[in-house]
Amino acid sequence: MGRQLKFNIFRYNPEDPKSVPHMESFDLEETDALTLYIALNRLR
C-alpha cells in the first residue's frame, strides 16, 4: 500500500456570482510514478 495523500485545492469560479472562494480537501492513495496529472484526473 502506498502513502495516503491529501490534496488541498482552492476552488472559485469568478463567472459565478454565487461562488465563494474556499479550500476543499481530497484524499488519494499513492501509486508508483504518480504525477499531479494522474492525481488530478483521478480526483475528477
Binding site: N13, E15, D16, D32, A33
Partner: protein, 635 residues
C-alpha cells in the same frame, strides 16, 4: 451575440492551421485562428523527433531526393495513399524546410568529421563531409531508405510551432484562444463559418467567414492510452460528421506508437530507436531481432507495435500496477548523446517517471499515436460536400499517409499541406463574395443554445458524461486496438451503439456558469462516440490487413478489393455511419508491391490501370537504392 467577420476562419492554431493562415495573410486576407489552448500549446509543440525532407546533406542521406522520399511514403502507406498527393508532398518538403530555416528554425547542422552511430545495439562509423559543413542535417527514422529526418534536437515541434506563431504575430493574424468551434454554419451547399463557445465565459459566439479551414489535429482521445494531448478529441471530424454531408476519410486508419511510457503514455521519440536504442523483455533480452531480423527495432511502427503486443501476449511483459510493459534501453548511447540529442526524453523520464535513462531502462508499451483518417479533402485541401470548407494537417485526410504514416512525415505534412492548401485557399478568396443569411446563423446558434439548456436541466437524462467517455475509451482500447478481428469489432460496434444511446441522455452534475469543463465534454461526447463508431464500423468492414490496420482473420493485404478509401458520413437519427468508398489513388506511379517489412501476403490487384504499367514499376524500383538499409518509422 459576439459576431466576428473574417476572410478566413482557421479552426485550429497548430502548425497546419497557422501555416494556412500565414499564407492567406501574406496575400492580404484577413484571418482568424481559433484554438482551445494558447496557440503555442497546440499539440504540434509535443513533436520531438523531426520532419522528413529529402535534402541529402548528411552522409547517411547521400543520394536522397524527392523520388526516394515519395517511394518510402507510398510503401509506408502500404499503397493506401493518394500518389498524386504524396508526390506533391515529397517535392515540396525540401522547400518548406528551407523556408522554415529562413523564418528562424535553428535546424541541427552537419558537423564534418567522423562520428559513431548505433543500429540494433551495434556501433558503426560515419564520416560527414567537409563540403557539407553547416547544411541542414538529418537523422534516421523508421521506414526510410535514407537518413532524412531534419530536426532541432528532440524539440522539433516546439521550435517549429514557436517560429510559425512568430510569423502569425508578425503578419497580424488574429488568434482567439480558449475558443472552441462547436458547429459549422452551412446550408448543405456552402460553409459560412462556425458557431463557437468561449471557454472562459461559457458564452456562444459566431464567426462568419468566406472560407473556413478545419485544422484541429487528431482523434487520439477516443482511446484510453494515447500519446495525444487531452484536447485531441477529434473535434474537426466531429464538426464534419455533424453537417451530414462532409465525409471523414479512412477513420479506421489509426496508428499506434511502440514507445509510450507507462503509466502516462507520454511519448518518447522513435529517435531513441533511430539512434540505436533497443527493446527488451522481462528477461532483459532483445526480441525485435528475432521477429524482424532485417529492420529489427527500426521496422515501421505498426510492425514494431504489433510485435511488442504479441510478445506481451506471450507472457514476456514486465508486470506493473498499470499493466504489463516492456523496456526501452538507451543506456549504451551514453550520457552525452542522451543529454543533448535526446534531451527531452531525458527530461520526460526523470520528471514523469523518476527514471534516469543514462543508468536505467524506460518502461514502455504501445499507445495510440496518430490519426491517418480525418476530414476528407481533394488535393487542394477542399473538403468534399461543402463549398468554402477546407482542411489540413492531422485533422485532414488529404491523403498522403494511406493506412500508415511514416514518422517525421506528419510535421512535414503540416508545413507542406499548410503551404499548398494555404495557396489554394488564398486563390479561392481572391474575388470571393458571400451573402450571409442571418436566419441561417440564428438557427445554428439556437440549436446549440438548446443543446446547452437541455444538458444543464438534464432534460434527456442524468447520464454522467465521464462514465460515457470512459466506457467508449475502454471499448476502443479493448476491441479496436492493434490487432483486430471480426468478433471483437462486432462487439465494439454493438457496445458503442449502446454507449451512443447513453450519450444522448447525458445531464450535468454542475451547472455553474463560466469555464465548465463538464459542459464542454457533454457537448462533445456524442460526437466522439459517433466518430468511435466510424472507426470501429469501418475497421469491421475492411476485411484485409493494410498498414496499421491489422486483421487477424484477414492477414493478407487485398489489393484486388481494397485499394479504396472509406468515406464515412452520419445521417441524423442513425446509429451507424453511412460508409461509401472511392479508389484510393487515381495515379499509380508505383504499382502495389512488397514493403520489405511486416506481413507480406498480398492478393494482387487485377485492375490494369493499377498494375498495368510495367515501365512505371521498374521506375519505382530504380529509385529505391539497393544498398541502403531501411530503418523504422518515427514520431
Amino acid at each position: 451575440m459576439d459576431t466576428f467577420y473574417t476572410d478566413l476562419l482557421c479552426i485550429g492554431a497548430g502548425l497546419a492551421g497557422e501555416r494556412v493562415a500565414v499564407e492567406a495573410a501574406s496575400r492580404g486576407f484577413d484571418s482568424i485562428c481559433l484554438s482551445i489552448v494558447p496557440p503555442r500549446r497546440s499539440h504540434s509543440s509535443a513533436a520531438q523527433g523531426g520532419m522528413q525532407a529529402a535534402l541529402g546533406n548528411a552522409c547517411m542521406g547521400e543520394g536522397d531526393c524527392p523520388d526516394v522520399h515519395f517511394a518510402d511514403t507510398v510503401k509506408g502507406s502500404d499503397w493506401g495513399c493518394d500518389q498524386e498527393v504524396a508526390r506533391m508532398f515529397a517535392e515540396t518538403a525540401p522547400v518548406a524546410v528551407r523556408e522554415m530555416a529562413h523564418w528562424g528554425i535553428p535546424w541541427n547542422r552537419v558537423v564534418p568529421g567522423s562520428g559513431t552511430f548505433y543500429k540494433g545495439g551495434k556501433e558503426y562509423q560515419k564520416i560527414e563531409k567537409k563540403e557539407r559543413e553547416g547544411r541542414i542535417t538529418a537523422r534516421d527514422f523508421g521506414g526510410t531508405a535514407k537518413w532524412r529526418t531534419c530536426y532541432t534536437s528532440d524539440g522539433t515541434g516546439h521550435t517549429l510551432l514557436f517560429t510559425m506563431d512568430n510569423q502569425v504575430v508578425k503578419l497580424g493574424v488574429k488568434v482567439h484562444d480558449r475558443v472552441e468551434a462547436v458547429s459549422l454554419i452551412h446550408d448543405d451547399q456552402r460553409c459560412y463559418g462556425a458557431v463557437a463557445r468561449c471557454l472562459k465565459t461559457g458564452k456562444l459566439r459566431v464567426y462568419l467567414a468566406k472560407a473556413t479551414l478545419i485544422a484541429t489535429g487528431g482523434y487520439g482521445r477516443l482511446y484510453r492510452e494515447t500519446t495525444n494531448a487531452v484536447i485531441c478529441d477529434g473535434s474537426g471530424a466531429i464538426l464534419a460528421l455533424k453537417t451530414g454531408v462532409v465525409p471523414v476519410g479512412n477513420p479506421e486508419a489509426v496508428q499506434f506508437h511502440p514507445t509510450g511510457i507507462v503509466p502516462t503514455s507520454i511519448l518518447v521519440t522513435e529517435g531513441c530507436r533511430g539512434d540505436g536504442g533497443t527493446l527488451k523483455d522481462v528477461d532483459g533480452k532483445r526480441f525485435m531481432d528475432i521477429y524482424e531480423p532485417d529492420k529489427q527495432e527500426l521496422a515501421s511502427r505498426d510492425v514494431v507495435s504489433r510485435w511488442m503486443t504479441h510478445h506481451i501476449r506471450e507472457g514476456k511483459g514486465v508486470k506493473s500496477p498499470y499493466g504489463d510493459h516492456l523496456w526501452l534501453d538507451i543506456r549504451h548511447l551514453g550520457e552525452k548523446h542522451i543529454k543533448t540529442k535526446l534531451r527531452e526524453v531525458d527530461e520526460i523520464c526523470r520528471e514523469f517517471l523518476g527514471v534516469d535513462p543514462v543508468t536505467q531502462m524506460i518502461p514502455v508499451r504501445p499507445a495510440q499515436h496518430y490519426s491517418m483518417g480525418g476530414v476528407r479533402t481533394n488535393k487542394d485541401g477542399a473538403c468534399y460536400g461543402l463549398d468554402g470548407l477546407f482542411s489540413a494537417g492531422e485533422g485532414a485526410c488529404w491523403d498522403m499517409h494511406g493506412l500508415n504514416r511514416l514518422g517525421g512525415n506528419s510535421l512535414a505534412e503540416t508545413i507542406v499541406a499548410g503551404r499548398i492548401v494555404g495557396q489554394k485557399v488564398a486563390d479561392y478568396l481572391d474575388g470571393c463574395e458571400v451573402t450571409f443569411n442571418t436566419q441561417l446563423v440564428t438557427d445554428f446558434v439556437k440549436r446549440e443554445e438548446e443543446v446547452i439548456s437541455r444538458l444543464i436541466q438534464g432534460k434527456d437524462g442524468r447520464e454522467n458524461v465521464y462514465d460515457v467517455r470512459n466506457a467508449m475509451q475502454d471499448v476502443m482500447m479493448d476491441y479496436v486496438g492493434i490487432f483486430r478481428n471480426a468478433t471483437d469489432l462486432r462487439q465494439a460496434v454493438v457496445k458503442l451503439q449502446e454507449i451512443h444511446e447513453r450519450a444522448q441522455k447525458v445531464g450535468l452534475r454542475t451547472s455553474s456558469p463560466g469555464a465548465n469543463p463538464e459542459l464542454g465534454m457533454a457537448m462533445r461526447v456524442k460526437g466522439m462516440v459517433r466518430l468511435a463508431l466510424c472507426v470501429a464500423y469501418a475497421a469491421e468492414q475492411r476485411t484485409e490487413s493494410r498498414g496499421a490496420h491489422a486483421r487477424e482473420d484477414y492477414p493478407e493485404r487485398n489489393d484486388r478489393d481494397w485499394l479504396t478509401r472509406t468515406l464515412a458520413t452520419w445521417k441524423e437519427g442513425d446509429d451507424l455511419p453511412t460508409l461509401n468508398y472511392e479508389p484510393n489513388s487515381q495515379v499509380w506511379e508505383i504499382p502495389p508491391g512488397q514493403r520489405g517489412y511486416g506481413v507480406s501476403k498480398i492478393i494482387p490487384s487485377e485492375d490494369p490501370s493499377v498494375v498495368g504499367n510495367v515501365e512505371a514499376s521498374k521506375a519505382g524500383e530504380a529509385c529505391q537504392p539497393q544498398d541502403a538499409p531501411e530503418t523504422p518509422e518515427t514520431n
